[in-house]
């Protein structure tokens, strides 16, 4: 290839990369733009602190509060993420090569990937069947467990990937001092991978707080703020879904306001978690 041609190919590839980047950024900007432009005018403090007065389909003006969905979503997403983290961290540790042979690890990884591909409505239906079997009603607890199940595969995978990226030499260094496998994992690998673990949790949290389908049967929907784990709970994604289905334009605008609130929660949680990770990860060896 002549020098000139190599330059042309180089430029072409660069242009292609920039095009893809532009396309992705434009789509994201468009989605966020629509949510902000349509949602911001409808957003009010009253809406955030008031439950709906007369149902979503018909609730208009001052009556269309989303406090029930906001609180429900925060409960479900944080509860589900906490529950999933408690399960995922040990599983991710077990998926390290020090603990399980390669074949078993690959099989489990494959299963998790398949589980990740299952539509969340199916997971929701599965949880609903289990709940129905034990005679449980749609409840906050059901929603938390369902969301934990939905986001667990991606959390485990992201955590395991982060942990396996810890340098093998660091492992050796700790082992050479007489540390046990478990000691190395807990005292060294987890510390080294704090940023990756936080990313895994955030990834799962984002998925969890945005999921509507799995909650339809399991946490149900309610116009009231749940006061216990056994009460049904509303959620923002379902509120958005119901409001968008309404024939009234002002109710539809409420859906965009709810989406904006959802977006802001994710932004705040992400920024907070990143700041924490930066503090926890000051000793991470790069």
């Amino acid at each position: 290839m002549s020098i000139r041609r190599r330059h042309v190919v180089e430029r072409l590839m660069q242009a292609l990369m920039l095009c893809s980047l532009g396309l992705v950024l434009a789509s994201v900007a468009a989605i966020i733009g629509v949510i902000v432009v349509r949602g911001a005018p409808a957003l009010s403090w009253r809406m955030l602190v008031q439950p709906p007065q007369s149902g979503y389909y018909a609730g208009r003006g001052s009556g269309s509060g989303i406090a029930n969905a906001l609180v429900g979503s925060v409960y479900v997403a944080f509860g589900g993420t906490l529950l999933a983290s408690l399960v995922s961290l040990p599983v991710a540790c077990a998926l390290q090569k020090q603990y399980l042979p390669g074949g078993v690890r690959r099989a489990i990884t494959l299963m998790l990937d398949v589980l990740w591909g299952v539509p969340s409505v199916v997971t929701g239906a599965f949880c609903f069947i289990v709940m129905a079997h034990y005679g449980l009603r749609a409840s906050l607890a059901g929603g938390i467990c369902t969301i934990a199940l939905v986001i667990m595969p991606v959390m485990v995978r992201a955590m395991a990937e982060a942990m396996s990226a810890a340098p093998a030499a660091m492992h050796e260094a700790a082992c050479a001092l007489g540390a046990t496998r478990f000691g190395v994992t807990v005292r060294i690998v987890l510390r080294q991978t704090v940023p990756g673990l936080v990313t895994a949790v955030l990834l799962a949290f984002g998925r969890g707080i945005g999921d509507a389908a799995s909650l339809l049967f399991t946490s149900g929907y309610s116009d009231f703020i749940p006061r216990s784990l056994s009460e049904p709970a509303a959620s923002l994604p379902l509120a958005i879904f119901f409001q968008l289905n309404s024939p009234f334009p002002e109710v539809q605008r409420g859906a965009y306001a709810a989406a904006l609130v959802l977006l802001l929660i994710v932004v705040v949680v992400t920024a907070g978690a990143r700041a924490c990770a930066a503090r926890l990860g000051i000793h991470v060896v790069r």
């Binding site: 700790a174 007489g178 046990t180 080294q192 060896v285």
Partner: protein, 275 residues
């Protein structure tokens, strides 16, 4: 009896034979250098002493390595206390993701050393005796701090880090990191230091510093180092093992090995005909 005796040691990685029937006693209190061309099994020999080769997939070992009379490959071998006796310096030092202080204290924490043990270790490293106090968190903290300082001094690093013990170890230069690894190893009370090309990633000044520390440590410590730099072996070694293609070809005092070796391969390597 020497601290380390290797008997009929064979190591294979899957189908590749890395060590063939190696038998040797490592002289105590001296610096022993393992020399030989790349891929001849130097590092494998070193890592089979503290069983770090166990971390490699598909490795098979036969024969025995006796550390203070106990076979490290025995079924009931206590690997954790064994590794405590064998400080290890890697080719490229890896600080643990902790502060400088905690890097050195790491070993004392994983072995859950109480204040009497920490005090005993400080005594071994030449600190004056203090009136022993009953074991408590406070006493441990006090003894640990003394020990950490002593280890950093012995590794020749204290003056450079004494004002930033709480900072991350990854902020140190690579030469400082290697001396930190030495301090880390000294804290848990080894009798032997295994150094796997410990200066190959270092600049000349850091290399000189690490060599200096190794020289001052020999005597109370047995030092076994792998090096592919012949001049370094000549500078430091009291005893030399020459390996070639997985076999221990010849071993003997450095003065003899570098002047009148018995075997033709050794002569060829030392004269630079093979490398």
């Amino acid at each position: 009896m020497p601290h380390i005796r290797i008997k009929a040691l064979n190591v294979a990685y899957k189908t590749h034979i890395a060590l063939k029937d190696v038998t040797v006693d490592i002289p105590d209190g001296q610096i022993t250098a393992i020399i030989g061309p790349s891929g001849c099994g130097k590092s494998t020999l070193l890592k089979s002493i503290n069983r770090l080769i166990d971390l490699t997939d598909g490795v098979q070992v036969s024969g025995s390595v006796l550390v203070d009379g106990a076979d490290v490959y025995a079924a009931d071998a206590d690997l954790l206390s064994l590794r405590r006796k064998l400080g290890f310096l890697m080719q490229r030092p890896y600080p643990l993701p902790l502060s400088i202080y905690e890097n050195v204290a790491f070993g004392t924490r994983i072995h859950d050393m109480d204040s009497a043990e920490l005090n005993g270790r400080s005594l071994q490293l030449g600190l004056p005796s203090v009136v022993p106090r009953p074991d408590s968190r406070h006493a441990r903290r006090f003894e640990r701090a003394r020990l950490v300082q002593r280890c950093l001094e012995m590794a020749g690093l204290w003056d450079e880090v004494k004002n930033r013990l709480k900072q991350s170890a990854h902020g140190l230069s690579i030469g400082q990191q290697q001396r930190l690894a030495l301090a880390r190893a000294l804290a848990v009370g080894p009798t032997t230091i295994l150094a796997d090309e410990a200066t190959s990633a270092l600049d000349p000044i850091s290399t000189k510093l690490v060599e200096q520390q190794l020289r001052t440590l020999k005597g109370p410590y047995t030092i076994l180092m792998v090096t592919h730099i012949l001049r370094q072996a000549k500078r430091l070694a009291d005893y030399v093992l020459f390996m070639y293609m997985g076999e221990l070809v010849e071993h003997g005092p450095a003065a003899k090995m570098f002047t009148v070796p018995d075997r033709a391969e050794t002569r060829a390597y030392i004269s630079g005909e093979i490398s």
